[in-house]
Symmetry: C2
Subunit: 152 residues, 2 copies
């Protein structure tokens, strides 16, 4: 990866971690890639809120556009999520929207060795704010349901 693109990618990951931390998550970036580190085995970002685990592949684009990924990148993200008991997402920073879009891996088309996230899927995906609200809200619902179940 050219070093400019790489720097831009790291900067987007750091931004996502900062935002998720502000929303109350514990969030961590994976280690930087390099000769000795097989970066691809790690998600770009892992965020956890009270046992609820979200794993992210992070992309940064100037414009809203279709995104392609390597199939094995997605496979590794999903394997991490499976072990963690969490959910996998692709978080796209779209500069022209001045916002993030969070695409669930379950809504992604897989065709052979390539993975395609169509522009319209990204467009319809929730913003980071709406995504976080739905995650925290679901968390609350689960908590409320569990409390009700444990009532005598």
């Amino acid at each position: 990866m050219p070093s400019d693109k790489r720097r831009k990618g790291f900067s987007a990951e750091r931004e996502l971690v900062r935002k998720l931390w502000r929303y109350g998550f514990a969030a961590i970036r994976g280690p930087a890639s390099g000769a000795k580190v097989k970066r691809s085995v790690y998600p770009d970002v892992v965020a956890i809120y009270r046992g609820k685990v979200l794993v992210f592949e992070v992309k940064s684009r100037g414009k809203l556009q279709t995104i392609y990924m390597a199939r094995n990148q997605l496979d590794k993200l999903m394997e991490f999520a499976r072990r963690a008991g969490g959910e996998a997402y692709v978080a796209v920073k779209v500069s022209e929207l001045r916002d993030w879009k969070v695409v669930s891996v379950s809504s992604i088309e897989i065709a052979g060795e390539k993975v395609k996230i169509p522009k319209d899927v990204i467009e319809r995906a929730p913003s980071l704010h709406d995504f976080v609200a739905s995650v925290l809200h679901r968390g609350l619902d689960e908590f409320v349901n569990r409390s009700e179940e444990s009532q005598p």
Copy 2:
């Protein structure tokens, strides 16, 4: 940190991640430290097994010995664990034992700005193997208990 000590630290972190991955955990190292990265905000390693979150500060020592840490390093580890709904540990690779010792943060003495993990506390701490067995076993117990609770 001198670069030799730093390399040794990273190598221990990578080893811990590999071992935890082999035990079935999703495990990730934090990013390498550097001018732009405040390393200290992240745990060295985060491991997750089906929603059970363990966060680690990693130490590597030649001999079994008392270890000192900065108080704020421990505070950040505990804050990460609190947000994640997880548990915090110091994982010590002890070369002369050819093994790891896993010390629960709850058993660590805090005195002012320094944190002391006495040699005998490390000696009595479980090995990585025994620690993992107890974590996975507890996980199973919790699962069994929950299943029993949901019986009619």
